[in-house]
Symmetry: C2
Subunit: 279 residues, 2 copies
Amino acid sequence: MKNRITEMLGIEHPVVQGGMMEISRASLTAAVSNAGGLGTLGQRMDLKAWRKEIVKAKELTDRPFAVNLPLHIPDLDNRLEAIIDEKVKVVTTAAGDPARVMETLKAAGIVVLHVVGTALQAEKVEQSGVDIIVAEGGESGGMVGKDRVSTVVLVPEVSGRVKVPVVAAGGLADARGLVAALALGAEGVQIGTRFLVAKECSAGEEWKQAVCKAKDTDTHIVPRGKAQGRMLKDDIMAGAMAGIVAGLISEELSAQQIMDSIVGGAEAVLENVNRQFRE
Amino acid sequence: MKNRITEMLGIEHPVVQGGMMEISRASLTAAVSNAGGLGTLGQRMDLKAWRKEIVKAKELTDRPFAVNLPLHIPDLDNRLEAIIDEKVKVVTTAAGDPARVMETLKAAGIVVLHVVGTALQAEKVEQSGVDIIVAEGGESGGMVGKDRVSTVVLVPEVSGRVKVPVVAAGGLADARGLVAALALGAEGVQIGTRFLVAKECSAGEEWKQAVCKAKDTDTHIVPRGKAQGRMLKDDIMAGAMAGIVAGLISEELSAQQIMDSIVGGAEAVLENVNRQFRE
């Protein structure tokens, strides 16, 4: 596949693995990048441990990968410095105004993705000069914004309002999600929960099995600190983050297998749609 | 276009107008059917007024149209009798177990659509013998179920679990939504809010303008009786029903114009997706 996302990120398939805090470590990041997508290193590790993961990811893959950079963290400047020292090529910012870090990141030649939850936020961050906007619907697991627009509406809204390419996120896990996201105006997908149940992901076995067991109605939004997060319900595994899309996930696979099923399956999904239009 | 939905319903385009209670009257129903989709007559009128609308719809179109039949209404038997007397060809049931009316409807040769909000409900109603399942995500306007799974997850879940064709609903209003729904495994879309702002819809001008003005974050879910409904927020127009997709709607059009833009636009949307996969 080829579009602005694959070109700008230097990847084969427009599939971004969503950074999932401390469980998105070098092993998962590199495995996704080696499979032709864009792996993403998460946050919530201390600076030293996190920098080690960056070094490790670079050892495990020579392909581009992203590093998550939530803008509300207290040691933001140190993180920025490490990112630049380690010559990270792609950074995904979220939870704050990217304007404050854009100059530094762009001066280092870094491609910047920024995660938004509404069309209004998308217009604002485009003006700050981000390269790619991740339009993340309220379906996603983990911490979510207050307004929680759904993917199916957010993606066409955002992609209709900004000129930079859009990556769709929230509720997407498979080939059907990739083709649907492209139809809605995105040029790629960001997938979290499906990669949580990847062999290379360091989430615990109990957590992975809980996601596989969860039905479509088994996640809910719970306040967490000043924000709120989507997680599994108490009878499945209280407090474990997961997106609504858990209902579509039933087995642990390797990152390569996940990528193959998304990209390989997409051709069949698209042909099925084409056929209905041709007839 | 041709698939099981167009074949079973005898329509040109797999676009169903969602029944919107008292504002989906004969004028809108017939206009949508005349434009090649499936118009739907709403509920919330008394039996006599409602039967008059059925008669009027038959005068205004010789194409198939549907009649909404919420299963919790007190005069269900009288409504059923009128539907059969008037030789209605399609009925959309919701809010209850369709098993109790299936025998009567099938004996009259009526095609039955039933609206569900979860994959579990879909499996149940398939066993009752419904012909088509409408998988309606929590994005939709009007009364919504308690669990509110999102369209982007609900549609692949339901279409993966049942053999009957699936119509996607909730958050869909345009060509992008139609192509995305097909990618997710549906064979058609049910669209409400976009048809609320149709010239032929009897919703008041203030309501239509409020939908046009609403942004993606301007709807919310509010308790209403024993259930809950998605409606516009207080500063837009308190209490007026609308789906999240209001954010994508900006002008009043005729039903024919809406249908033309959905069906005509879908070719371009699909070609854009095909191009990215070809390259």
